[in-house]
Symmetry: C4
Subunit: 204 residues, 4 copies
C-alpha cells in the first residue's frame, strides 16, 4: 500500500477550481488503490487548497477505512464513486465537478442522453469515426444521492455508455479513467463540449 | 487582541480581484474581532495588492479606532458592514464585490427578491431540499449609502433572508459568514448563480 | 531624471496581456517624466514579456530622445499619446489596449459618444452622482494615426470629456491619469463597462 | 544542429493550454531546424506539462529521425505540418490548436473562406490597409488527415492565402511564421478574431 494518489488529486482539484468547476467546495475527486479501496475528498472542503488530511479512504462498499482527520466525513456523493468503480473495474480515478455550462446544458437535454457535437475534439474521448453520432448519458438529480447511484448502476449494467462520462441534471459531470491523468483529460474534453454546446445555442 | 484577520482578507481580495469581481478598486471586505470591532478595507485601494496598512479598524458604531495609515479613510460602504454585523451577531466576515453578472442580473429582478435556480450548487448556501424555492433579497441603490444600510436593517429585522447574501441593484453582492473561509465559499456560490442566470438568459 | 516608470509599465502590460487586452503585440503604454518626455512601448513587442529595452523615450513633439535598442521604433500610435499629454498636462500615464468587447461595443455607438450605464462602478471613473448620465467620446479609426490624434485634439480643445477615457472605433480604448496606478484602475473600469454593455445586449 | 526549439514549444504549449486552446491533449506544435527537419509534439500528451521527451523529430517527408521516448509516436497531424513547411519555405514554426470559438465559427463559414472583420487587430496578421477585405481559408475535416494536407497543398499551390493561417472545419486553426514568437502572435490574433466574430453574432 505504498501508492498514494492524494498529491495528484490535490493538484487536479486546484486546477479544476481555478477553471471555475469546483466553486464553493462543490464536486469531489477520488482515486483507487490496488486493494480496491479509494481515497475521496472529504465533504465541505475548498477545492483550491486541499491537503492530504482532507481525504477519506473508503472501500468499495462505502465503509470508511482511513480517516486522517476525525472531524471529516466522506463526500456526500461517495456512493456514485462506488458505483463507477463497481461498473468499470479498470477505472482508477473518478472526477465529479459542477461547471455553469454543464448545469445549463443539462436542462436542454431531451430524453436521457446529451447528443455530443461531431467535432474533432471527440477523439479525446476515444471516438475515432467520421461524423460520429455519440451521446453522453444523463440522469435525474435526487436529494437522496444513493438513488442517483442506483439509477446509474441499473442503466450501465444494461448498456455501457459511449463515452466515459455521465451528466446529472442540475448537478454536473462525472468522468472516470484508468489513470488520474486520463481522467483529467476526459474532464477537459467534457467541459469543452459543454462550453461548445452552450455557445452554439447563443450564436444560433 | 492577538487575532488579526488582515492577511486572510488580503489573500481573499487578491483572489476576487483575479476573478474580475473587484476591478478598479471596487468592493470592500471586512472581518470582525472578538471585541466586535472589525477591520475593513480602506477606500480607493486596488484590491489585487492590498497591504496591512490598507485597512481601517472601526467599531460597530462606525467609529475609527485604528488607522495604520493616516491618509486612509474607511470604505464608503462601512455602514453596510456595520448593519450586517448588527443583524447577524454570529457573522465574523462580510464581503462585498461587483461582478458584471451580479450587476446585470440585478436589473432583471422583479419586485425585491432574486429567484435562485434550483440547482445542486444551492447546497453550498446551506439549502438542502429537493427542488428548493429560494430567493436572494435585493435592495435599491442610493448615493447615500447609510440609506441602503437602513433599508437592509429594516427588512432583515422583519424577516431574515433565506441565504446569507443580498444584492444591491447596479451595485453588486454582499455575503456574510461565521468565518472568512465560509464567506469566500458563499461568495463563490453567489457569483456562480449569477453567471448561471445570465448565461441561461443568453441561451433562451 | 532618476524616476523610471518602465518597471511599472512592464508589470501593467503583463497584467493587461493576461486579461486578453493586448493580444498579438496590440496596444501601447506610456508614462511621462518630469521633463515632459515620456517612455512608450516600442512597436511590435509581445506585451506579456516586455523588458526595459522594449521602450522608446520621446518628447512631447514626438522626437525620439532615448532608444535603448537601435532596432526599435516607437509605437505607431505615439501621436495619440502626445496629444493626450498635451491636452491634459496633469496626465502622467496613458494606456491604450484592444479588448474584444471594446471593439464590439464601438460598432454599436450612435453618433460620437458611447453612453455609459448608470452603475455604481462609474464611481471608479470619478462620477459620484445619483443616476449619472455620462458618455465616453468615440472617434473614427484611420490608417493615418496622426489624423486620429488631430481629431482628438480638436474635439477635446472644444470640450473636455466626462471621463478620462476615449474609444476609437474598431481600435480599442485609451485612458489617462495622474499616476500609473490610477491609469490601471481607470482601464479596469472602462473594460468592465464594455463587458457589461456587451453582456447586456446578449441578455436582452 | 545545436539549436533546439523544444523549450520554446513547451512554454508556448503551456500558455495555449492555459487559454483553453489545447484541452485534453488537443492540438500540436512544431518548429523547424536548419536541416529542414522539425520537432513536433508527440501524440496524446497533455499540453500543459510537456517535457523534451514528449516530442518527435521528423524530416519533411514525415520520416521519424529522432525519438527521445520509444513509446511515443508523432502527432496524427504531422502531414499538415509537413505541407505547411513545404508550401512556405520561410516558415520555421507551425502551431495548431482547437478553441471553442474556432470550432463554432468554422460552422458559420459560407464557401471555403472565413471573412475577417475589418478591425485594427488585423495589422497583427500583416494587413496594413484602410478597411481591409481579407479572408482566412477554410478546409473540410477528414478522418484521413493526409487528405486534409493534400487539399491544403493543392489550394495553396494555386493561390497563397491572404494571412498566415487556415481553419479546418470542426477542427481548429493552424498558423505558421518565421519564428516561434511570431507564430504565437499570429495565433493570438487569430483566436482574438474568432472570439470577436462569435461575440458579434451573440450581440446581433
Amino acid at each position: 500500500m505504498n501508492y498514494d494518489p492524494r498529491p495528484e488529486l490535490i493538484t487536479a482539484a486546484r486546477q479544476f477550481y481555478q477553471q471555475g468547476w469546483m466553486m464553493g467546495t462543490a464536486g469531489n475527486l477520488s482515486a483507487k488503490l490496488p486493494d480496491n479501496s479509494f481515497w475521496i475528498t472529504a465533504s465541505g472542503k475548498s477545492k483550491g487548497k486541499l491537503t492530504e488530511s482532507d481525504f477519506v479512504r473508503v472501500n468499495l462498499d462505502g465503509k470508511v477505512i482511513e480517516l486522517p482527520d476525525n472531524n471529516n466525513r466522506p463526500s456526500a456523493e461517495t456512493s456514485i464513486h462506488q458505483t463507477i468503480y463497481q461498473c468499470f473495474p479498470n477505472a482508477h480515478a473518478c472526477y465529479h465537478v459542477h461547471s455553469v455550462e454543464a448545469n445549463l446544458i443539462s436542462r436542454c437535454v431531451k430524453g436521457d442522453n446529451l447528443v455530443l457535437p461531431a467535432i474533432e475534439m471527440l477523439k479525446g474521448l476515444g471516438i475515432w469515426e467520421e461524423n460520429p453520432n455519440v451521446v453522453m448519458p444523463t440522469f435525474k438529480n435526487h436529494l437522496d444521492v444513493p438513488r442517483i447511484a442506483q439509477e446509474i448502476r441499473d442503466r450501465f449494467s444494461r448498456k455501457p455508455p459511449d463515452v466515459p462520462a455521465l451528466l446529472i441534471i442540475d448537478h454536473g459531470v462525472t468522468v472516470w479513467a484508468d489513470t488520474t491523468e486520463q481522467a483529467a483529460n476526459y474532464l477537459e474534453i467534457a467541459e469543452y463540449l459543454f462550453r461548445y454546446l452552450i455557445a452554439a445555442r447563443q450564436v444560433e
